[in-house]
Protein backbone atom coordinates (compact mmCIF):
# COMPACT_ATOMS: atom_id res chain seq x y z
CA UNK A 1 0.00 0.00 0.00
CA UNK A 2 2.43 2.57 -1.18
CA UNK A 3 1.50 6.22 -1.52
CA UNK A 4 -2.01 5.66 -0.21
CA UNK A 5 -2.92 3.24 -3.02
CA UNK A 6 -5.09 0.45 -1.77
CA UNK A 7 -5.64 -0.94 -5.26
CA UNK A 8 -2.85 -0.82 -7.78
CA UNK A 9 -3.48 -2.32 -11.21
CA UNK A 10 -0.62 -2.37 -13.66
CA UNK A 11 -0.96 -3.45 -17.29
CA UNK A 12 -3.74 -5.90 -16.56
CA UNK A 13 -4.64 -8.26 -19.39
CA UNK A 14 -7.33 -10.87 -19.08
CA UNK A 15 -7.88 -13.35 -21.89
CA UNK A 16 -10.57 -16.00 -22.09
CA UNK A 17 -10.05 -18.92 -24.45
CA UNK A 18 -13.07 -19.25 -26.73
CA UNK A 19 -12.53 -22.43 -28.69
CA UNK A 20 -9.68 -21.74 -31.08
CA UNK A 21 -9.71 -18.00 -30.50
CA UNK A 22 -9.12 -15.88 -27.46
CA UNK A 23 -11.37 -13.16 -26.11
CA UNK A 24 -9.49 -10.31 -24.53
CA UNK A 25 -11.73 -8.95 -21.77
CA UNK A 26 -9.14 -6.53 -20.37
CA UNK A 27 -6.36 -5.06 -22.43
CA UNK A 28 -3.51 -3.35 -20.65
CA UNK A 29 -5.53 -1.73 -17.89
CA UNK A 30 -3.60 0.33 -15.37
CA UNK A 31 -5.43 2.04 -12.53
CA UNK A 32 -4.98 2.94 -8.90
CA UNK A 33 -7.52 3.56 -6.18
CA UNK A 34 -6.98 5.34 -2.90
CA UNK A 35 -8.78 5.01 0.43
CA UNK A 36 -12.28 6.43 0.64
CA UNK A 37 -12.83 6.66 -3.10
CA UNK A 38 -16.33 6.41 -4.55
CA UNK A 39 -15.48 5.26 -8.03
CA UNK A 40 -17.19 3.47 -10.84
CA UNK A 41 -16.19 1.37 -13.80
CA UNK A 42 -18.55 2.53 -16.47
CA UNK A 43 -19.19 1.10 -19.88
CA UNK A 44 -21.44 -1.03 -22.01
CA UNK A 45 -21.92 -4.76 -21.52
CA UNK A 46 -18.80 -6.71 -22.43
CA UNK A 47 -16.47 -3.81 -21.75
CA UNK A 48 -14.69 -5.69 -18.97
CA UNK A 49 -16.20 -4.01 -15.88
CA UNK A 50 -17.14 -7.18 -14.00
CA UNK A 51 -13.92 -8.92 -15.00
CA UNK A 52 -11.90 -6.08 -13.52
CA UNK A 53 -14.04 -6.08 -10.40
CA UNK A 54 -13.49 -9.83 -10.02
CA UNK A 55 -9.73 -9.40 -10.29
CA UNK A 56 -9.74 -6.61 -7.71
CA UNK A 57 -11.87 -8.86 -5.49
CA UNK A 58 -9.35 -11.73 -5.88
CA UNK A 59 -12.08 -13.92 -7.34
CA UNK A 60 -10.10 -14.10 -10.57
CA UNK A 61 -6.52 -13.59 -11.63
CA UNK A 62 -5.13 -11.60 -14.54
CA UNK A 63 -3.59 -13.36 -17.52
CA UNK A 64 -0.73 -10.87 -17.31
CA UNK A 65 0.04 -7.70 -15.44
CA UNK A 66 0.02 -7.11 -11.73
CA UNK A 67 -3.00 -6.53 -9.54
CA UNK A 68 -2.07 -5.44 -6.06
CA UNK A 69 -4.83 -5.12 -3.48
CA UNK A 70 -3.91 -3.85 -0.04
CA UNK A 71 -0.32 -4.69 -0.82
CA UNK A 72 -1.05 -8.25 -1.91
CA UNK A 73 -0.47 -9.47 -5.45
CA UNK A 74 -3.77 -11.10 -6.38
CA UNK A 75 -2.16 -13.19 -9.12
CA UNK A 76 0.18 -14.86 -6.63
CA UNK A 77 -2.29 -15.60 -3.84
CA UNK A 78 -3.24 -19.15 -3.00
CA UNK A 79 -7.02 -19.82 -2.95
CA UNK A 80 -6.83 -19.85 0.85
CA UNK A 81 -4.99 -16.52 1.03
CA UNK A 82 -7.36 -15.02 -1.52
CA UNK A 83 -10.30 -16.16 0.61
CA UNK A 84 -8.67 -14.57 3.64
CA UNK A 85 -8.10 -11.30 1.78
CA UNK A 86 -11.78 -11.18 0.77
CA UNK A 87 -12.96 -12.17 4.20
CA UNK A 88 -10.90 -9.55 6.02
CA UNK A 89 -10.80 -6.60 3.66
CA UNK A 90 -13.33 -6.78 0.83
CA UNK A 91 -17.10 -6.58 0.77
CA UNK A 92 -19.17 -7.60 -2.25
CA UNK A 93 -22.50 -6.33 -3.48
CA UNK A 94 -24.05 -8.21 -6.38
CA UNK A 95 -26.65 -7.35 -8.97
CA UNK A 96 -28.85 -10.26 -7.87
CA UNK A 97 -28.23 -9.62 -4.15
CA UNK A 98 -26.89 -13.16 -3.65
CA UNK A 99 -28.31 -13.50 -0.18
CA UNK A 100 -28.30 -16.96 1.32
CA UNK A 101 -31.96 -17.90 0.95
CA UNK A 102 -32.48 -20.00 4.07
CA UNK A 103 -30.89 -17.38 6.32
CA UNK A 104 -32.65 -14.41 7.89
CA UNK A 105 -31.42 -10.90 7.23
CA UNK A 106 -29.56 -11.07 10.53
CA UNK A 107 -27.91 -14.39 9.65
CA UNK A 108 -26.93 -13.16 6.19
CA UNK A 109 -25.22 -10.11 7.65
CA UNK A 110 -23.67 -12.23 10.36
CA UNK A 111 -22.14 -14.69 7.87
CA UNK A 112 -18.84 -12.83 7.12
CA UNK A 113 -18.34 -12.25 10.84
CA UNK A 114 -18.76 -15.95 11.54
CA UNK A 115 -16.03 -16.62 9.00
CA UNK A 116 -13.87 -14.09 10.83
CA UNK A 117 -14.41 -15.94 14.09
CA UNK A 118 -15.72 -12.87 15.91
CA UNK A 119 -17.16 -13.54 19.36
CA UNK A 120 -20.93 -13.67 19.76
CA UNK A 121 -21.49 -10.41 21.62
CA UNK A 122 -19.35 -8.32 19.27
CA UNK A 123 -20.94 -10.07 16.32
CA UNK A 124 -24.44 -9.28 17.46
CA UNK A 125 -23.62 -5.62 17.97
CA UNK A 126 -21.91 -5.34 14.60
CA UNK A 127 -24.81 -7.02 12.79
CA UNK A 128 -27.43 -4.84 14.43
CA UNK A 129 -25.35 -1.73 13.73
CA UNK A 130 -25.03 -2.70 10.07
CA UNK A 131 -28.74 -3.38 9.77
CA UNK A 132 -29.42 -0.03 11.43
CA UNK A 133 -27.13 1.73 8.92
CA UNK A 134 -29.29 0.43 6.09
CA UNK A 135 -32.55 1.01 7.98
CA UNK A 136 -33.50 -2.64 8.38
CA UNK A 137 -33.02 -3.28 12.09
CA UNK A 138 -36.70 -4.17 12.33
CA UNK A 139 -36.41 -6.81 9.56
CA UNK A 140 -33.61 -8.77 11.18
CA UNK A 141 -35.70 -11.93 11.37
CA UNK A 142 -37.04 -11.74 7.82
CA UNK A 143 -35.80 -14.08 5.15
CA UNK A 144 -34.90 -12.83 1.67
CA UNK A 145 -38.13 -14.25 0.26
CA UNK A 146 -40.12 -12.13 2.69
CA UNK A 147 -38.51 -8.82 1.67
CA UNK A 148 -38.62 -6.58 -1.38
CA UNK A 149 -35.75 -6.29 -3.85
CA UNK A 150 -34.70 -2.97 -2.35
CA UNK A 151 -34.68 -4.40 1.15
CA UNK A 152 -32.70 -7.41 -0.02
CA UNK A 153 -30.10 -5.19 -1.61
CA UNK A 154 -29.86 -3.17 1.59
CA UNK A 155 -29.26 -6.42 3.49
CA UNK A 156 -26.53 -7.19 0.95
CA UNK A 157 -24.99 -3.79 1.59
CA UNK A 158 -25.13 -4.38 5.34
CA UNK A 159 -23.42 -7.74 4.76
CA UNK A 160 -20.72 -6.04 2.66
CA UNK A 161 -19.96 -3.35 5.22
CA UNK A 162 -20.59 -5.16 8.51
CA UNK A 163 -16.92 -6.06 8.94
CA UNK A 164 -15.94 -2.48 7.98
CA UNK A 165 -13.77 -3.54 5.06
CA UNK A 166 -11.34 -1.24 3.29
CA UNK A 167 -12.97 -1.98 -0.07
CA UNK A 168 -16.53 -2.64 -1.21
CA UNK A 169 -17.02 -3.89 -4.74
CA UNK A 170 -20.51 -3.44 -6.15
CA UNK A 171 -21.43 -5.08 -9.43
CA UNK A 172 -24.49 -3.41 -10.99
CA UNK A 173 -26.06 -2.95 -7.54
CA UNK A 174 -29.14 -1.15 -8.84
CA UNK A 175 -29.82 -3.19 -11.96
CA UNK A 176 -32.71 -5.08 -10.37
CA UNK A 177 -34.19 -2.14 -8.49
CA UNK A 178 -36.70 0.56 -9.36
CA UNK A 179 -35.70 4.25 -9.35
CA UNK A 180 -36.84 4.96 -5.81
CA UNK A 181 -35.03 1.98 -4.32
CA UNK A 182 -31.96 2.71 -6.45
CA UNK A 183 -31.71 6.21 -5.00
CA UNK A 184 -32.19 4.93 -1.46
CA UNK A 185 -29.47 2.34 -1.96
CA UNK A 186 -27.07 4.86 -3.45
CA UNK A 187 -27.74 7.36 -0.68
CA UNK A 188 -26.99 4.62 1.83
CA UNK A 189 -23.71 3.76 0.13
CA UNK A 190 -22.66 7.40 -0.15
CA UNK A 191 -23.37 7.79 3.55
CA UNK A 192 -21.37 4.69 4.45
CA UNK A 193 -18.53 5.83 2.22
CA UNK A 194 -18.39 9.06 4.15
CA UNK A 195 -18.90 7.67 7.63
CA UNK A 196 -16.74 4.55 7.36
CA UNK A 197 -14.17 5.83 4.86
CA UNK A 198 -14.61 2.67 2.82
CA UNK A 199 -13.53 2.65 -0.80
CA UNK A 200 -16.46 1.82 -3.08
CA UNK A 201 -15.80 0.57 -6.60
CA UNK A 202 -18.83 0.04 -8.79
CA UNK A 203 -19.31 -1.71 -12.08
CA UNK A 204 -22.30 -0.05 -13.67
CA UNK A 205 -23.91 1.47 -16.67
CA UNK A 206 -26.85 2.84 -14.68
CA UNK A 207 -27.06 6.65 -15.04
CA UNK A 208 -28.48 6.92 -11.51
CA UNK A 209 -25.31 5.38 -10.12
CA UNK A 210 -23.05 7.29 -12.46
CA UNK A 211 -24.38 10.66 -11.26
CA UNK A 212 -23.35 9.77 -7.69
CA UNK A 213 -19.79 8.77 -8.58
CA UNK A 214 -16.90 10.99 -7.66
CA UNK A 215 -14.67 9.16 -10.08
CA UNK A 216 -15.79 7.68 -13.37
CA UNK A 217 -13.58 5.24 -15.28
CA UNK A 218 -14.95 4.54 -18.72
CA UNK A 219 -14.06 1.15 -20.13
CA UNK A 220 -14.54 0.32 -23.78
CA UNK A 221 -13.55 -3.08 -25.20
CA UNK A 222 -11.38 -3.83 -22.22
CA UNK A 223 -9.43 -0.56 -22.32
CA UNK A 224 -9.62 2.49 -20.11
CA UNK A 225 -10.95 5.18 -22.37
CA UNK A 226 -11.40 7.95 -19.78
CA UNK A 227 -10.68 8.35 -16.09
CA UNK A 228 -12.65 11.37 -14.86
CA UNK A 229 -12.57 12.72 -11.33
CA UNK A 230 -15.08 15.19 -10.06
CA UNK A 231 -13.59 18.19 -8.36
Amino acid sequence: MENGKIIDLESIVKDYPMGRTTLTALNNVSLTFGPGEFAGLVGPSGSGKTTLLNIIGSLDTPTSGRAEVLGKDVGCLSPKDAARLRNLHIGFIFQTFNLLPVYTAYENVEFPLLLLGMDAAARKKAVMDALAWVGLADRARSRPGQMSGGQNQRVAIARAVVKKPEIVLADEPTANLDAENSHKILDTMVELNKSLGTTFVFATHDPKVIEHLRRKIVLVDGRVERDERQP
Binding site: G57, K80, L115, L116
Partner: protein, 391 residues
Protein backbone atom coordinates in the same frame (compact mmCIF):
# COMPACT_ATOMS: atom_id res chain seq x y z
CA UNK B 1 -17.28 -24.39 15.17
CA UNK B 2 -18.56 -22.34 12.28
CA UNK B 3 -19.13 -25.30 9.95
CA UNK B 4 -21.39 -27.27 12.36
CA UNK B 5 -23.25 -24.05 13.19
CA UNK B 6 -23.82 -23.21 9.54
CA UNK B 7 -24.68 -26.83 8.68
CA UNK B 8 -27.37 -26.96 11.34
CA UNK B 9 -28.65 -23.58 10.21
CA UNK B 10 -28.75 -24.74 6.59
CA UNK B 11 -30.48 -28.07 7.12
CA UNK B 12 -33.05 -26.59 9.44
CA UNK B 13 -33.57 -23.74 7.03
CA UNK B 14 -34.12 -26.19 4.16
CA UNK B 15 -37.27 -27.38 5.95
CA UNK B 16 -39.30 -30.11 4.25
CA UNK B 17 -36.47 -31.36 2.02
CA UNK B 18 -34.33 -32.09 5.06
CA UNK B 19 -37.12 -33.88 6.88
CA UNK B 20 -38.07 -35.98 3.86
CA UNK B 21 -34.48 -37.09 3.43
CA UNK B 22 -34.15 -37.86 7.10
CA UNK B 23 -37.37 -39.88 7.13
CA UNK B 24 -36.26 -41.98 4.15
CA UNK B 25 -32.90 -42.55 5.79
CA UNK B 26 -34.53 -43.41 9.10
CA UNK B 27 -36.56 -46.13 7.39
CA UNK B 28 -33.35 -47.73 6.19
CA UNK B 29 -31.82 -47.31 9.63
CA UNK B 30 -34.72 -48.93 11.49
CA UNK B 31 -35.14 -51.68 8.89
CA UNK B 32 -31.48 -52.61 9.10
CA UNK B 33 -31.61 -52.80 12.89
CA UNK B 34 -34.85 -54.77 12.75
CA UNK B 35 -33.50 -57.21 10.18
CA UNK B 36 -30.12 -57.63 11.84
CA UNK B 37 -31.62 -58.14 15.29
CA UNK B 38 -34.10 -60.65 13.95
CA UNK B 39 -31.36 -62.52 12.21
CA UNK B 40 -29.25 -62.48 15.35
CA UNK B 41 -32.25 -63.76 17.27
CA UNK B 42 -32.70 -66.61 14.82
CA UNK B 43 -29.03 -67.51 15.00
CA UNK B 44 -28.99 -67.34 18.76
CA UNK B 45 -32.11 -69.45 19.05
CA UNK B 46 -30.78 -72.02 16.62
CA UNK B 47 -27.57 -72.23 18.58
CA UNK B 48 -29.28 -72.29 21.99
CA UNK B 49 -31.82 -74.86 20.89
CA UNK B 50 -29.10 -77.10 19.53
CA UNK B 51 -27.12 -76.92 22.78
CA UNK B 52 -30.09 -77.48 25.08
CA UNK B 53 -31.70 -80.33 23.15
CA UNK B 54 -28.98 -82.08 21.24
CA UNK B 55 -25.34 -81.37 21.82
CA UNK B 56 -25.13 -80.11 25.42
CA UNK B 57 -21.59 -79.05 26.30
CA UNK B 58 -20.10 -81.48 23.76
CA UNK B 59 -20.23 -85.17 22.95
CA UNK B 60 -17.97 -88.19 23.31
CA UNK B 61 -18.35 -90.38 20.25
CA UNK B 62 -17.29 -93.98 20.20
CA UNK B 63 -14.59 -94.47 17.61
CA UNK B 64 -16.05 -95.27 14.20
CA UNK B 65 -19.32 -93.41 14.74
CA UNK B 66 -20.27 -91.28 11.76
CA UNK B 67 -23.66 -89.59 11.95
CA UNK B 68 -23.75 -89.31 8.18
CA UNK B 69 -23.12 -93.03 7.61
CA UNK B 70 -25.93 -95.31 8.89
CA UNK B 71 -23.77 -98.35 8.22
CA UNK B 72 -21.30 -97.15 10.85
CA UNK B 73 -23.97 -97.73 13.51
CA UNK B 74 -23.55 -101.48 13.31
CA UNK B 75 -20.17 -101.25 15.00
CA UNK B 76 -20.43 -97.85 16.66
CA UNK B 77 -21.21 -98.97 20.17
CA UNK B 78 -19.07 -99.89 23.13
CA UNK B 79 -19.28 -100.21 26.88
CA UNK B 80 -18.90 -96.90 28.64
CA UNK B 81 -15.34 -96.61 29.96
CA UNK B 82 -14.88 -95.82 33.68
CA UNK B 83 -14.27 -92.03 33.22
CA UNK B 84 -17.55 -91.69 31.34
CA UNK B 85 -19.36 -93.94 33.79
CA UNK B 86 -18.17 -91.63 36.56
CA UNK B 87 -19.40 -88.60 34.63
CA UNK B 88 -22.78 -90.25 34.11
CA UNK B 89 -22.98 -91.16 37.79
CA UNK B 90 -22.18 -87.58 38.71
CA UNK B 91 -24.92 -86.30 36.42
CA UNK B 92 -22.37 -84.63 34.15
CA UNK B 93 -23.08 -86.82 31.13
CA UNK B 94 -25.77 -88.95 29.63
CA UNK B 95 -25.11 -91.90 27.32
CA UNK B 96 -27.07 -92.39 24.11
CA UNK B 97 -27.22 -95.67 22.23
CA UNK B 98 -28.20 -95.58 18.56
CA UNK B 99 -29.44 -98.63 16.66
CA UNK B 100 -30.54 -98.69 13.04
CA UNK B 101 -34.14 -99.96 12.73
CA UNK B 102 -37.19 -100.14 10.54
CA UNK B 103 -40.70 -99.18 11.62
CA UNK B 104 -43.93 -100.37 10.10
CA UNK B 105 -46.57 -97.71 10.66
CA UNK B 106 -49.91 -98.52 9.04
CA UNK B 107 -48.34 -101.20 6.91
CA UNK B 108 -45.67 -98.92 5.50
CA UNK B 109 -41.96 -99.35 5.88
CA UNK B 110 -39.85 -96.47 7.20
CA UNK B 111 -36.17 -96.47 8.08
CA UNK B 112 -35.52 -95.05 11.53
CA UNK B 113 -32.97 -94.77 14.27
CA UNK B 114 -33.79 -96.13 17.68
CA UNK B 115 -32.16 -93.89 20.24
CA UNK B 116 -31.88 -94.95 23.82
CA UNK B 117 -31.60 -92.23 26.42
CA UNK B 118 -31.88 -92.17 30.20
CA UNK B 119 -35.31 -90.68 31.09
CA UNK B 120 -33.74 -88.99 34.12
CA UNK B 121 -30.82 -87.37 32.29
CA UNK B 122 -29.84 -83.74 33.04
CA UNK B 123 -27.19 -83.05 30.42
CA UNK B 124 -29.71 -81.94 27.81
CA UNK B 125 -31.62 -79.23 29.57
CA UNK B 126 -34.76 -79.11 27.49
CA UNK B 127 -34.91 -82.53 25.91
CA UNK B 128 -38.21 -84.11 27.13
CA UNK B 129 -36.66 -87.49 28.03
CA UNK B 130 -38.63 -87.69 31.27
CA UNK B 131 -41.75 -88.45 29.26
CA UNK B 132 -40.48 -91.87 28.15
CA UNK B 133 -41.85 -93.79 31.02
CA UNK B 134 -44.80 -96.03 31.19
CA UNK B 135 -46.11 -99.38 32.45
CA UNK B 136 -43.46 -102.10 32.50
CA UNK B 137 -45.26 -104.20 29.91
CA UNK B 138 -44.75 -101.67 27.08
CA UNK B 139 -41.78 -100.00 25.45
CA UNK B 140 -42.55 -96.29 25.66
CA UNK B 141 -41.46 -94.21 22.73
CA UNK B 142 -40.99 -90.49 22.28
CA UNK B 143 -41.09 -89.01 18.80
CA UNK B 144 -40.89 -85.55 17.35
CA UNK B 145 -43.67 -83.85 15.45
CA UNK B 146 -41.99 -84.37 12.09
CA UNK B 147 -41.54 -88.08 12.70
CA UNK B 148 -45.14 -88.33 13.92
CA UNK B 149 -46.36 -86.66 10.77
CA UNK B 150 -44.16 -88.75 8.46
CA UNK B 151 -45.18 -92.02 10.11
CA UNK B 152 -48.80 -91.04 10.71
CA UNK B 153 -48.37 -91.68 14.42
CA UNK B 154 -49.92 -89.93 17.38
CA UNK B 155 -49.71 -90.18 21.13
CA UNK B 156 -51.04 -93.57 22.27
CA UNK B 157 -50.40 -95.34 18.95
CA UNK B 158 -48.47 -98.58 18.83
CA UNK B 159 -46.04 -99.28 16.04
CA UNK B 160 -43.92 -102.28 15.17
CA UNK B 161 -40.20 -101.78 15.03
CA UNK B 162 -37.61 -104.23 13.69
CA UNK B 163 -33.91 -104.13 14.37
CA UNK B 164 -30.81 -106.29 14.41
CA UNK B 165 -29.07 -106.88 17.70
CA UNK B 166 -25.37 -107.01 18.50
CA UNK B 167 -25.20 -110.67 17.47
CA UNK B 168 -26.77 -109.99 14.08
CA UNK B 169 -30.14 -111.42 14.98
CA UNK B 170 -33.22 -109.62 13.68
CA UNK B 171 -35.92 -108.99 16.22
CA UNK B 172 -39.16 -107.01 16.31
CA UNK B 173 -41.40 -105.47 18.91
CA UNK B 174 -44.24 -103.04 19.33
CA UNK B 175 -43.53 -99.60 20.77
CA UNK B 176 -46.16 -97.31 22.21
CA UNK B 177 -45.89 -93.61 21.48
CA UNK B 178 -46.28 -92.04 24.91
CA UNK B 179 -45.46 -88.48 23.87
CA UNK B 180 -44.68 -86.33 20.88
CA UNK B 181 -42.59 -83.16 21.06
CA UNK B 182 -42.05 -80.15 18.90
CA UNK B 183 -38.54 -79.01 18.20
CA UNK B 184 -36.73 -76.76 15.82
CA UNK B 185 -34.05 -79.43 15.41
CA UNK B 186 -34.78 -81.83 12.62
CA UNK B 187 -31.79 -83.97 13.55
CA UNK B 188 -33.42 -85.23 16.77
CA UNK B 189 -36.85 -85.45 15.23
CA UNK B 190 -37.10 -86.71 11.65
CA UNK B 191 -36.53 -90.50 11.52
CA UNK B 192 -35.75 -90.72 15.25
CA UNK B 193 -37.50 -92.79 17.89
CA UNK B 194 -36.44 -92.24 21.50
CA UNK B 195 -36.90 -95.02 24.01
CA UNK B 196 -35.42 -95.68 27.48
CA UNK B 197 -31.72 -96.47 27.27
CA UNK B 198 -31.86 -99.62 29.34
CA UNK B 199 -34.71 -100.96 27.21
CA UNK B 200 -32.75 -100.45 24.02
CA UNK B 201 -29.63 -102.00 25.55
CA UNK B 202 -31.67 -105.09 26.33
CA UNK B 203 -33.35 -105.16 22.90
CA UNK B 204 -30.02 -104.79 21.09
CA UNK B 205 -28.08 -107.05 23.43
CA UNK B 206 -25.68 -104.24 24.20
CA UNK B 207 -25.63 -104.07 28.00
CA UNK B 208 -23.85 -101.03 29.41
CA UNK B 209 -23.03 -99.81 25.93
CA UNK B 210 -23.52 -96.49 24.21
CA UNK B 211 -22.78 -94.81 20.90
CA UNK B 212 -22.13 -91.44 22.43
CA UNK B 213 -22.20 -89.60 25.72
CA UNK B 214 -23.47 -86.05 25.86
CA UNK B 215 -21.87 -83.92 28.56
CA UNK B 216 -23.49 -80.99 30.30
CA UNK B 217 -22.41 -77.44 29.58
CA UNK B 218 -19.32 -76.39 31.47
CA UNK B 219 -18.00 -79.97 31.78
CA UNK B 220 -14.24 -80.13 31.43
CA UNK B 221 -13.56 -82.97 28.99
CA UNK B 222 -10.57 -85.26 29.30
CA UNK B 223 -9.15 -87.75 26.82
CA UNK B 224 -10.91 -91.13 27.00
CA UNK B 225 -9.32 -94.02 25.06
CA UNK B 226 -11.59 -95.39 22.33
CA UNK B 227 -13.81 -92.30 22.47
CA UNK B 228 -13.42 -89.01 20.67
CA UNK B 229 -14.58 -85.77 22.25
CA UNK B 230 -16.45 -83.50 19.85
CA UNK B 231 -16.62 -79.95 21.14
CA UNK B 232 -19.24 -77.32 20.36
CA UNK B 233 -17.12 -75.86 17.59
CA UNK B 234 -17.15 -79.21 15.82
CA UNK B 235 -20.77 -80.03 16.50
CA UNK B 236 -21.99 -76.60 15.46
CA UNK B 237 -19.74 -76.42 12.43
CA UNK B 238 -22.52 -76.99 9.94
CA UNK B 239 -24.85 -74.59 11.72
CA UNK B 240 -22.17 -71.91 11.87
CA UNK B 241 -21.35 -72.39 8.21
CA UNK B 242 -25.02 -72.19 7.36
CA UNK B 243 -25.45 -69.02 9.42
CA UNK B 244 -22.42 -67.54 7.70
CA UNK B 245 -23.94 -68.27 4.30
CA UNK B 246 -27.24 -66.76 5.37
CA UNK B 247 -25.42 -63.75 6.81
CA UNK B 248 -23.78 -63.06 3.48
CA UNK B 249 -27.18 -63.25 1.81
CA UNK B 250 -28.70 -60.92 4.38
CA UNK B 251 -25.76 -58.53 4.05
CA UNK B 252 -26.46 -58.20 0.35
CA UNK B 253 -30.02 -57.28 1.22
CA UNK B 254 -28.81 -54.62 3.68
CA UNK B 255 -26.33 -53.25 1.19
CA UNK B 256 -29.14 -52.94 -1.35
CA UNK B 257 -31.36 -51.27 1.22
CA UNK B 258 -28.63 -48.83 2.19
CA UNK B 259 -27.82 -48.24 -1.45
CA UNK B 260 -31.41 -47.27 -2.20
CA UNK B 261 -31.59 -44.95 0.79
CA UNK B 262 -28.23 -43.41 -0.01
CA UNK B 263 -29.23 -43.02 -3.63
CA UNK B 264 -32.09 -40.86 -2.43
CA UNK B 265 -29.73 -38.82 -0.26
CA UNK B 266 -27.13 -38.60 -3.02
CA UNK B 267 -29.73 -37.51 -5.52
CA UNK B 268 -31.02 -34.83 -3.18
CA UNK B 269 -27.50 -33.71 -2.34
CA UNK B 270 -26.50 -33.51 -6.00
CA UNK B 271 -29.60 -31.49 -6.80
CA UNK B 272 -29.12 -29.36 -3.74
CA UNK B 273 -25.45 -28.67 -4.38
CA UNK B 274 -25.97 -27.85 -8.06
CA UNK B 275 -29.02 -25.73 -7.31
CA UNK B 276 -27.01 -23.88 -4.69
CA UNK B 277 -23.92 -23.25 -6.81
CA UNK B 278 -24.61 -19.48 -6.82
CA UNK B 279 -24.85 -19.70 -3.05
CA UNK B 280 -21.52 -21.50 -2.99
CA UNK B 281 -20.03 -18.77 -5.19
CA UNK B 282 -21.35 -16.18 -2.76
CA UNK B 283 -19.85 -18.00 0.21
CA UNK B 284 -16.48 -18.16 -1.55
CA UNK B 285 -16.76 -14.47 -2.45
CA UNK B 286 -17.43 -13.67 1.18
CA UNK B 287 -14.23 -15.41 2.17
CA UNK B 288 -15.08 -19.03 2.68
CA UNK B 289 -12.37 -21.44 1.58
CA UNK B 290 -13.12 -24.39 -0.70
CA UNK B 291 -12.28 -26.82 2.06
CA UNK B 292 -14.84 -25.15 4.31
CA UNK B 293 -17.46 -25.25 1.55
CA UNK B 294 -16.87 -28.98 1.09
CA UNK B 295 -16.92 -29.48 4.85
CA UNK B 296 -20.15 -27.53 5.14
CA UNK B 297 -22.02 -29.50 2.49
CA UNK B 298 -20.62 -32.82 3.66
CA UNK B 299 -21.64 -32.13 7.22
CA UNK B 300 -25.06 -30.96 6.08
CA UNK B 301 -25.61 -34.35 4.48
CA UNK B 302 -24.16 -36.23 7.40
CA UNK B 303 -26.32 -34.33 9.87
CA UNK B 304 -29.32 -35.68 8.03
CA UNK B 305 -28.26 -39.11 9.19
CA UNK B 306 -28.27 -37.86 12.79
CA UNK B 307 -31.76 -36.51 12.23
CA UNK B 308 -32.62 -39.89 10.72
CA UNK B 309 -31.41 -41.64 13.86
CA UNK B 310 -33.50 -39.30 16.02
CA UNK B 311 -36.58 -39.74 13.84
CA UNK B 312 -35.95 -43.47 13.67
CA UNK B 313 -35.77 -43.46 17.47
CA UNK B 314 -39.18 -41.83 17.74
CA UNK B 315 -41.03 -44.57 15.90
CA UNK B 316 -38.35 -47.26 15.91
CA UNK B 317 -37.93 -47.67 19.67
CA UNK B 318 -41.63 -48.41 20.33
CA UNK B 319 -41.80 -50.63 17.27
CA UNK B 320 -38.67 -52.59 18.11
CA UNK B 321 -39.71 -52.88 21.77
CA UNK B 322 -43.10 -54.23 20.74
CA UNK B 323 -41.40 -56.61 18.36
CA UNK B 324 -39.08 -57.80 21.11
CA UNK B 325 -42.03 -58.50 23.38
CA UNK B 326 -44.30 -60.21 20.87
CA UNK B 327 -41.89 -61.65 18.36
CA UNK B 328 -42.84 -62.54 14.84
CA UNK B 329 -45.05 -65.58 14.50
CA UNK B 330 -44.35 -67.40 11.29
CA UNK B 331 -47.28 -68.80 9.34
CA UNK B 332 -47.80 -72.55 9.84
CA UNK B 333 -44.95 -74.73 8.64
CA UNK B 334 -42.81 -71.82 7.49
CA UNK B 335 -40.25 -72.43 10.23
CA UNK B 336 -39.34 -75.80 8.72
CA UNK B 337 -38.83 -74.24 5.31
CA UNK B 338 -36.36 -71.63 6.49
CA UNK B 339 -33.46 -74.03 6.26
CA UNK B 340 -32.30 -73.21 9.77
CA UNK B 341 -33.52 -74.49 13.11
CA UNK B 342 -35.84 -71.66 13.97
CA UNK B 343 -38.86 -71.45 16.19
CA UNK B 344 -42.36 -70.65 15.04
CA UNK B 345 -42.09 -67.32 16.81
CA UNK B 346 -38.96 -65.35 16.05
CA UNK B 347 -37.56 -62.97 18.65
CA UNK B 348 -34.98 -60.29 17.86
CA UNK B 349 -31.83 -59.65 19.86
CA UNK B 350 -30.69 -56.05 20.04
CA UNK B 351 -27.38 -54.73 21.23
CA UNK B 352 -25.77 -51.37 21.71
CA UNK B 353 -23.14 -52.41 19.19
CA UNK B 354 -25.75 -53.18 16.57
CA UNK B 355 -27.52 -49.83 16.98
CA UNK B 356 -24.32 -47.81 17.27
CA UNK B 357 -22.71 -49.69 14.39
CA UNK B 358 -25.70 -49.16 12.14
CA UNK B 359 -25.87 -45.47 13.09
CA UNK B 360 -22.16 -45.09 12.37
CA UNK B 361 -22.56 -46.87 9.04
CA UNK B 362 -25.47 -44.64 8.03
CA UNK B 363 -23.54 -41.52 9.17
CA UNK B 364 -20.40 -42.50 7.30
CA UNK B 365 -22.20 -43.51 4.12
CA UNK B 366 -24.27 -40.32 4.12
CA UNK B 367 -21.17 -38.23 4.66
CA UNK B 368 -19.49 -39.91 1.68
CA UNK B 369 -22.43 -39.42 -0.69
CA UNK B 370 -22.63 -35.79 0.44
CA UNK B 371 -18.92 -35.23 0.05
CA UNK B 372 -18.76 -36.34 -3.58
CA UNK B 373 -21.02 -33.69 -5.16
CA UNK B 374 -19.71 -31.00 -2.78
CA UNK B 375 -16.15 -31.70 -3.82
CA UNK B 376 -17.17 -31.50 -7.46
CA UNK B 377 -18.95 -28.17 -7.15
CA UNK B 378 -16.24 -26.61 -4.99
CA UNK B 379 -13.86 -27.02 -7.94
CA UNK B 380 -15.84 -24.41 -9.85
CA UNK B 381 -14.23 -21.03 -10.34
CA UNK B 382 -15.91 -18.60 -7.93
CA UNK B 383 -16.75 -16.29 -10.83
CA UNK B 384 -18.56 -19.12 -12.61
CA UNK B 385 -20.29 -20.25 -9.44
CA UNK B 386 -21.51 -16.68 -8.83
CA UNK B 387 -23.07 -16.64 -12.27
CA UNK B 388 -24.64 -20.04 -11.68
CA UNK B 389 -22.54 -21.54 -14.47
CA UNK B 390 -21.57 -25.19 -14.62
CA UNK B 391 -18.31 -26.10 -16.29
Amino acid sequence: MIIPKLSIRNILGAGTKTWLNAVVLSLAFVTIIWGQSLFRGINEEASRSMIDMQIGGGQYWVEGYDPFDPFSLEKAHAPLPPPLQAAVAAGDATPILIVQATVYPEGRVLPAELRGIDPGQKALATFPSSSISGPPDIVPALIGARMAKAAGLAKGDAVTVRWRDAKGTFDARDLVVVETFTTTLQTIDAGQIWIPLEELRKMAAMPGEATMAVVRQGFQPAAVPGWIFRDLGFLKKDLDAFIKTKTIGMSIFYVLLMFLALLAVFNTQVLSVFRRRREIGTMIALGMTRARVIGLFTLEGALQSILAVLIGGVYGIPFLAWFKAHGWELPGGQADNFGLTIGNVLYPIYSVGLVAGTAALVFLATAIVSFLPARQIARLKPTDALKGKLK
